[in-house]
Subunit: 203 residues, 2 copies
């Protein structure tokens, strides 16, 4: 194994995870980095910091800035952007579906589709019908997939990803973890994280 590798921790509710998820595939491929997509839940991480919702809701000045900043970022990247309502969207079901798909080869495409639906079109990703529609668009049978997403085994995987994020020191999303536990936080650290993964590749 001489792969440059990076763990990509994200939550479907997380605003800055949207541009990161839309871009990481192509950027990692160009850099020769293998990315492990790790959807997790920010909720327990925030709860450990004493927050019962997004800090962007708790701290209004920070929230106002984030929406404006994301407007600018998406405009520059030519990504459509609309503000999810409600924010944050409940992301557990989407995360469970993603974990099911990451085994089957359609997980990354599903993640991009879910982010695009939520932040590009303002669709409700907690709505099972929306997720079924996205799955159908990927040629994946919705009903058995949603059932599998809700299996105990699959729920345990999402819990494991969240626990792994916490062990890695993750406190927000998106976060990127390179070999040796090197942590990068935020969409604006994506290029740095990829460069670090390349430099720390075993020779």
């Amino acid at each position: 194994m001489s792969d440059a590798a990076l763990d990509f921790y994200f939550d479907f509710a997380s605003t800055y995870s949207y541009p990161a998820a839309m871009r990481i595939g192509a950027l990692a491929q160009a850099a020769g980095v293998t990315v492990r997509w790790r959807p997790f839940l920010l909720g327990p991480v925030f709860k450990a910091q004493g927050w019962d919702t997004s800090p962007f809701n708790i701290y209004p000045a920070k929230g106002r800035y984030m929406w404006r900043d994301l407007d600018r970022i998406c405009a520059r990247l030519e990504l459509p952007f609309c503000r999810p309502d409600p924010f944050p969207q409940p992301s557990m079901l989407a995360a469970r579906v993603a974990h099911a798909g990451l085994d089957d080869g359609w997980g990354e495409a599903f993640c991009r589709a879910a982010f695009a639906a939520e932040f590009g079109q303002g669709r409700q990703i907690a709505d099972e019908a929306v997720l079924a529609d996205l799955l159908q668009g990927l040629g994946v049978a919705p009903e058995p997939t949603l059932a599998r997403a809700r299996s105990e085994q699959n729920k345990a995987r999402l819990r494991a990803a969240t626990a792994a994020a916490e062990r890695a020191g993750v406190f927000g999303a998106p976060s990127f973890v390179a070999r040796g536990g090197e942590l990068f936080w935020g969409h604006d650290r994506l290029a740095d994280a990829l460069a670090w993964a390349v430099r720390s590749r075993p020779r």
Copy 2:
């Protein structure tokens, strides 16, 4: 007036303000942007968010990450870096001296000297003797300057800068405000802020 202009809000205690302050002069000059240096106090801004110290102390995972991130940033920029102890350093006196100097033409050089002493050498910027030493290094007489820094008029200026930061929506440092109130937060937005200032220049 057809100047591209940017307000640069920073606190001497703020970690990410260090690389921003060391770099903004040269970068702004190269971009043709006039920077107004606005030292302010994060304390009242944090207090309004319910925090009685730096969020990097309140949220340990965030704090650990910040120190590592700043290590990496300073290494890349070839800036010496050591962790101030205690952190955050009380920054009020340094900010008052800076306001006195910004009128007299030595303010920006003092700001760089204070940041370099604090984050490059681990010196105590709340110590009047340290500030006197920095002033002497700039050829500025310490005693009358420190007296002027403590004048009511000068204290009022620091309060005014802090109030202006809050009105501009500043919630952390460094922050940059371009024409029309466009706000950018963080050392990692410095290049974006300068580019925005250039694009939004009156023609």
